[in-house]
């Protein structure tokens, strides 16, 4: 019965899964880059998405959509820069396992703090952006325009990031630091400035992801932790080093999540995702695309 329904709605569900997955990838690439460079798993990363979404939602009806989105992204970008300068800069001064462990507690603390603040102060502030045209028809199937739009924007942002890392001087310096920190220092690359840049880019992309979520579904203040966990899974499955690995992992996990969600329910889909991540680590410890970047 559920399966019949699934088959009839499959294209729409797959599109939803892809869109959701790409949105997670946008959060995940920030986690991946920060971990690749600094060996710190940023557990507060999903809160950047929520912050941008809330700021945009608050401003949407007063300053217009374009400005609201811009200010929303600036908000999380600034928060990223401040958090790095004030809190994480000192964590990055530590070395080895120390840094990873302290980083774990510091970012978990930040996540809880931001989560508490955002859910208490902005209860009921929900970001919903709906384009004037609701559906488009592609070869007989009807899709929601907002889904298509979300997917396209996410993809463009991810491709933009990948080419930034591949082609620009700063992008190459970012990869250099993640491949060999000492090698980067003796090339004259200022590592702590590069970390700041990565933090800011990561925060901006997560912020964009939150706003994109408001486009195809709703973004609510409490979703930060959930988004962080899902993005972490995407990061692990994608192999914590490559943007394309993260993108593909996001799409796969997004589809799995939406399909299981449709067939059974939300909490089971989390379990299924955790199992998928565990199986990936067992089969391919380097993640889907391994050590490429």
């Amino acid at each position: 019965m559920a399966v019949d329904l699934l088959i009839s709605q499959l294209p729409a569900i797959v599109i939803d899964g892809i869109v959701f997955g790409l949105q997670l990838s946008l959060i995940s690439v920030g986690i991946v880059m920060i971990f690749g460079l600094g060996r710190i798993l940023n557990l507060s990363h999903g809160e950047f998405a929520v912050l941008s979404g809330i700021v945009t939602a608050l401003l949407l009806h007063t300053v217009g959509i374009v400005l609201a989105i811009i200010i929303g992204i600036i908000a999380s970008t600034l928060l990223g820069a401040i958090l790095y300068k004030v809190v994480l800069f000192y964590t990055f001064k530590l070395h080895g396992e120390h840094r990873t462990l302290i980083g774990f507690f510091v970012t978990l603390g930040l996540a809880l703090l931001l989560h508490g603040y955002l859910t208490n102060q902005f209860t009921g502030t929900i970001l919903i952006i709906r384009p004037p045209i609701t559906t488009v028809s592609i070869s007989g199937y009807t899709f929601r325009l907002s889904s298509i739009l979300s997917g396209v924007i996410s993809t463009l942002l991810l491709i933009g990031l990948a080419s930034f890392l591949k082609r620009t001087k700063v992008g190459k310096a970012i990869r250099a630091v993640s491949q060999n920190e000492v090698g980067a220092i003796i090339s004259g690359i200022p590592v702590s400035k590069i970390l700041l840049i990565v933090f800011v880019i990561g925060a901006a992309l997560a912020g964009s992801s939150g706003i994109i979520r408001g486009l195809y579904t709703n973004l609510e203040p409490h979703q930060g932790i959930e988004l962080t966990i899902l993005a972490l899974l995407v990061a692990v499955v994608g192999g914590v080093r490559s943007v394309f690995g993260t993108m593909i992992a996001g799409i796969i996990l997004g589809i799995v999540y939406i399909v299981v969600n449709f067939l059974i329910g939300t909490y089971i889909s989390f379990v299924v995702l955790l199992i998928s991540a565990a199986v990936t680590i067992l089969i391919k410890p380097q993640g889907l695309l391994g050590d490429r970047d």
Binding site: K169, A173, A176, Q179, G183, I185, I186, S187, G188, V191
Partner: protein, 241 residues
């Protein structure tokens, strides 16, 4: 006349461990190449890491062209002309050779001279030109060593610190690397090379001045010609080779 490098009463090492004790080194403008010889564990790498800024000194003073740089961050030392080529090479394994070389020219100092320096490193290491698009991690040991030296040269250094540039390489590659270093010192008028080595013969063959480091202390120093005839050197170093 100011010295290119002046190390005064330097103490250094890692966290709790002091390795270098009261090191004094002077490289002035009359010298082109300086050797640092000494057995494994003497502190050669510690000294180079301290001069390049990767390790903070515990005491003492380091000056470069008359300016004190004792606590200058490592990446800024590259920008004033100090390049360190570590024994571990520290290349970027998943980047192409050309990308690694371009990153070597990251500093303001080197940016404008990138094309010129690229010509230089390709002329002294033609092998790297052939491997331009290959991932650095897939190069052979000798080629990786060439790449590490070439990356150092891309930063337009005035002082090039080479830490055991031939460790683990086949004898033929060793002599190739040393003849390249000698050639390099000849073509680059401004360049001073400071080489740490266990291979005493190569150092005596290619350097003007030699420091002998043992147990973290400078045991002897002098021009290559003076030290070559020194009985202690003959006995403990040259005799072995």
């Amino acid at each position: 006349m100011t010295n290119v490098l002046l190390v005064e009463h330097l103490f250094g090492g890692y966290d709790e461990v002091t390795i270098l004790r009261d090191i004094n080194i002077k490289i002035d403008n009359n010298i082109k190449s300086v050797g640092l010889i000494g057995p494994n564990g003497a502190g050669k790498t510690t000294l180079f890491k301290t001069i390049s800024g990767l390790l903070k000194p515990k005491k003492g003073k380091i000056s470069y062209n008359g300016t004190e740089i004792t606590y200058l961050p490592a990446h800024k030392r590259v920008d004033i002309g100090i390049a360190y080529v570590p024994a571990e090479k520290e290349i970027f394994p998943r980047m192409s050779v050309i990308d690694v070389l371009e990153l070597g020219a990251y500093t303001k100092r080197a940016r404008d001279k990138m094309a010129e320096n690229l010509d230089l490193v390709f002329s002294i290491f033609p092998r790297l030109r052939e491997r331009k698009w290959q991932k650095a991690g897939t190069l052979s040991g000798g080629e990786q060593q060439m790449l590490a030296i070439a990356r150092g040269l891309m930063s337009s250094p005035e002082l090039l610190l080479l830490d055991e540039p031939t460790t683990g390489l086949a004898p033929i590659i060793v002599s190739q690397i040393y003849s390249t270093i000698k050639k390099l010192v000849q073509i680059e008028e401004q360049l001073k090379v400071f080489i740490a080595e266990q291979r005493t013969d190569e150092i005596f063959d290619s350097c003007d001045f030699v420091y002998v480091l043992e147990n973290g202390k400078i045991l002897m120093m002098g021009t290559t010609d003076d030290l070559r005839t020194d009985e202690r050197i003959k006995k403990s170093y040259l005799g072995l080779m």
